[in-house]
């Protein structure tokens, strides 16, 4: 079980190897990618910032909850920080379990909790040169927006 904030490119295939277990019958993973639009605005790039030590601790707490709640065999997560271009993988979550139901449910649980609880912030850069911090009212010409990957 591991959760890390990283400034390095995420490699889903390499991470999936850590989920292998002889009693695992199911592996489910989720990748969040940088898309070229949000709320009707053309997006050119994203910048993520995190408080790494609090984020790693809270991420690991979410994985621990998921392992207990869904009886997982393994669970991992990674989240990028820094400037990302369109199409890059910003977040990866993977789990393995004996059966697919628990694996699907746990993967969904982890990404949903991660988005609500882990101190990570996202700044979008738009084609018109403006930028904005997502979900924040402070300091932005845009109304607070809720985004889903």
């Amino acid at each position: 079980m591991s959760f890390e904030i990283t400034d390095q490119r995420i490699d889903p295939e390499a991470l999936k190897a850590d989920l292998r277990h002889e009693t695992a019958g199911a592996c489910v993973s989720f990748e969040g990618w940088v898309r070229d639009h949000n709320d009707g605005e053309p997006v050119t790039a994203l910048e993520y910032e995190a408080h790494a030590s609090v984020a790693n601790k809270e991420g690991l707490q979410i994985l621990t909850e998921a392992v207990e709640r869904f009886d997982l065999l393994a669970a991992s997560g990674r989240h990028r920080v820094g400037r990302l271009e369109i199409g890059e993988c910003a977040v990866w979550v993977g789990v393995s379990a004996a059966h697919r139901g628990a694996a699907f449910d746990a993967c969904r649980y982890i990404i949903d909790q991660l988005k609500q609880r882990v101190p990570i912030w996202k700044k979008e850069y738009y084609r018109d040169g403006l930028s904005g911090w997502i979900n924040c009212v402070t300091g932005t010409p845009f109304k607070a927006r809720d985004t889903t990957s």
């Binding site: 809270e58 101190p119 912030w121």
Partner: protein, 80 residues
């Protein structure tokens, strides 16, 4: 009055124009300190949507403050 350090992240850092500052305050809780710094710097996000950590541990807004605490103000998160 106690001396504490307030630390800002993401939009709060940009809005305040600094990473951190030392404050002499009568605030008894994290929420009271947020009220002070949000009035000072124009933070517009409610505590219901923000988070706070004290000395690198996530804390409740009702958590009491002590001399020397480092209080981390986290604007609404947006991972994923």
């Amino acid at each position: 009055m106690i001396d504490v350090t307030a630390q800002y992240f993401a939009v709060f850092r940009e809005q305040a124009g600094r990473n951190l500052e030392t404050l002499t305050t009568s605030a008894a809780t994290a929420e009271e300190l947020y009220a002070e710094v949000s009035a000072k710097h124009g933070f517009a996000d409610s505590v219901a949507r923000c988070k706070v950590a004290i000395n690198d541990e996530l804390a409740a807004w009702t958590a009491p403050l002590a001399e020397g605490d480092v209080v981390l103000f986290f604007p609404p998160v947006a991972g994923g």
